[in-house]
């Protein structure tokens, strides 16, 4: 049942599990598990790094792009989402995403781990046999936190805070947990063989799709297209993007769930793709707009991080560079030109960067995944496995459709109960003062 994840760990971890497995079985009743201190050290570090991606990373990345009057409200979104999701994940999220769902396991996990019940001191998960389950649960929690938080980019500057919190909670349980289960937790997509090393579809396409739906349902910001909505302080965004870049090694290399060659290769692929994408976006802007903006450089970097996410443990460095460059150009086009053509207001480009980049990465994973890098993956180009391409498209389509439909339902319910949007007066005067009673004075 946990086959797909084990596959994802690659041959080495697989081998480790084979060795560790019987050993575990042999040891008597209350015995300590065979924990590897090096793997555990890296996974604790990775969890901390991914948490740092959301606070302060994503919080700053977004807060730097909004107008002065909404800076604190934007920070509050990432921060409160972190707190809320932590509790929900502990209460039930981890259980339905990462434990055995019995008969319905293809679709959803079980409820045995409510409030983390059976997770004693020495528990381990078969998805990560060399580290304590507490660490694995924590690592996955940090993914569960950042995914909904990413959506906030699409609904910046105009959503009610109460509606935002309700949306975060419902979306986590109704959208993120099921999809994470499908791909990583033993569900149908992972079993079918879809490859998603660290969350190209589960995290980024998913959050991006939800952002697209939310941007359409909320409508444009007042003054969109006529008023100056230039970022108030891009220095914050640069700090944020840098911390996202830095923290992403926990995301991608951490997804090896070991401290080994697989983690090393994933780190290298991540670094190279990110750099390539940042340069590509910079070049696109330089050619088209004559000036390479800082916002472009950091957006490109994030696009590269997103696109390499599903591929990071499966591709070699050269292909990582190609994926990065493609992501830079494609996301530049989608966030700048396509958005303008279509005319919706995805304020900070949750869809344009995370949605498009995540889908692109998932598909390119099918192209470039290489058996030489990961024994569990065979792609089209190197291994002639055309079937993988179909699986990747299936993964993208399933995520997009399920997420779009359920997000639409959740937001509709909130719209007719709490209401989605603040009043026009509040929007003009700023969310900081009106929702939180505070302002930044700098």
């Amino acid at each position: 049942m946990t086959f797909s994840k084990l596959k994802r760990l690659g041959v080495l971890a697989g081998a480790a599990a084979l060795i560790a497995g019987p050993a575990l079985a042999q040891t008597a009743a209350p015995a300590a598990p065979k924990i590897d201190t090096g793997d555990t050290a890296w996974m604790l570090t990775s969890s901390v790094l991914v948490l740092m991606m959301t606070i302060p990373g994503l919080a700053l990345f977004y807060a730097g792009m909004v107008r002065k009057k909404n800076i604190l409200a934007t920070l509050a979104q990432s921060f409160s989402a972190t707190a809320l999701i932590t509790v929900l994940w502990m209460v039930i999220g981890y259980s339905i995403a990462f434990t055995d769902g019995g008969a319905g396991n293809a679709w959803i996990g079980g409820v045995k781990y409510l409030l983390l019940g059976p997770m004693g001191l020495n528990a381990t998960s078969s998805l990560a046999p060399t580290i304590p389950e507490s660490v694995y649960m924590f690592f996955q929690m940090t993914f569960a936190i950042i995914t909904p938080a990413l959506i906030a980019g699409a609904l910046a500057d105009r959503m009610k805070f109460s509606a935002f919190l309700a949306f975060m909670g419902a979306w986590l349980l109704l959208v993120y947990c099921p999809i994470a289960h499908w791909v990583w937790g033993g569900g149908w997509l992972g079993k079918a063989g879809a490859l998603d090393f660290a969350g190209g579809t589960v995290v980024h396409l998913n959050a991006g799709t939800a952002g697209l739906v939310a941007a359409l349902m909320l409508g444009k910001r007042k003054g969109f297209g006529t008023e100056n909505m230039a970022p108030h302080n891009l220095a914050y965004s640069v700090i944020g993007a840098s911390l996202l870049w830095v923290g992403w090694f926990g995301f991608n290399a951490g997804s090896a769930v070991t401290s080994n060659v697989q983690a090393g290769m994933a780190a290298v692929a991540t670094q190279i793709a990110t750099a390539g994408a940042s340069l590509a976006w910079m070049v696109a802007e330089w050619v088209v707009h004559k000036k390479p903006s800082v916002l472009g450089m950091i957006s490109g970097a994030v696009a590269g991080l997103v696109a390499i996410t599903p591929a990071s443990g499966f591709v070699n460095p050269g292909d990582a560079l190609l994926i990065g460059i493609a992501a830079g150009f494609v996301c530049y086009f989608s966030a700048v030109h396509m958005k303008k053509m279509i005319g919706y207001d995805d304020a900070l480009d949750a869809w344009g960067v995370h949605g498009v980049g995540g889908a692109l990465g998932a598909i390119l994973t099918g192209v470039f995944a290489s058996n030489a890098i990961n024994a569990a993956s065979k792609g089209w180009l190197h291994d002639g496995n055309v079937g993988q391409m179909m699986l990747q498209f299936e993964d993208v389509a399933a995520t997009f459709v399920y997420c779009a439909v359920v997000t639409f339902i959740i937001l509709t319910v909130i719209k007719y109960t709490i209401g989605l949007r603040v009043s026009e007066e509040v929007e003009v005067e700023g969310l900081d003062l009106n929702l939180h009673g505070e302002v930044v004075q700098a």
């Binding site: 230039a230 957006s299 700048v336 480009d349 344009g352």
Partner: protein, 112 residues
């Protein structure tokens, strides 16, 4: 006494200050303002969202001078602030009825 109020391009601030001092003006007060006029801001695009910049950053200098010094001061500002390009700014002259130096209580021209 007259209040000379000049709105100029920010990077000319130091030149204008020097010119005024050269023309005998001993004190002035400066504020950062935004100007709207013939000079139009560009259209800005951020990540696909386009908008028109209406206001441009300017610097406003205010100096109170005695009546006889007005002409020289205005000339000095004109010479120092002009680039010949649109947006160079304006000078306005208003009448001042009284001036007081807070420290000493002096009034009138002695207070300048």
């Amino acid at each position: 006494m007259k209040l000379i109020k000049a709105i100029v391009k920010p990077f000319k601030l130091d030149d204008v200050r020097e010119a005024l001092v050269g023309a005998g003006v001993e004190g002035l007060t400066v504020s950062e303002v935004k100007g709207y006029g013939r000079q139009r801001g560009q259209t800005e695009i951020y990540r696909g969202a386009e908008y028109q910049v209406n206001f441009l950053p300017k610097v406003q200098l205010e100096a109170v001078v005695e009546d006889s010094a007005v002409g020289k001061a205005v000339e000095a500002i004109k010479a120092a602030a002009a680039t010949g390009k649109i947006g160079d700014g304006k000078i306005f002259v208003l009448n001042v009825e009284e001036a007081v130096r807070i420290r000493t209580g002096e009034t009138g021209q002695a207070a300048l």
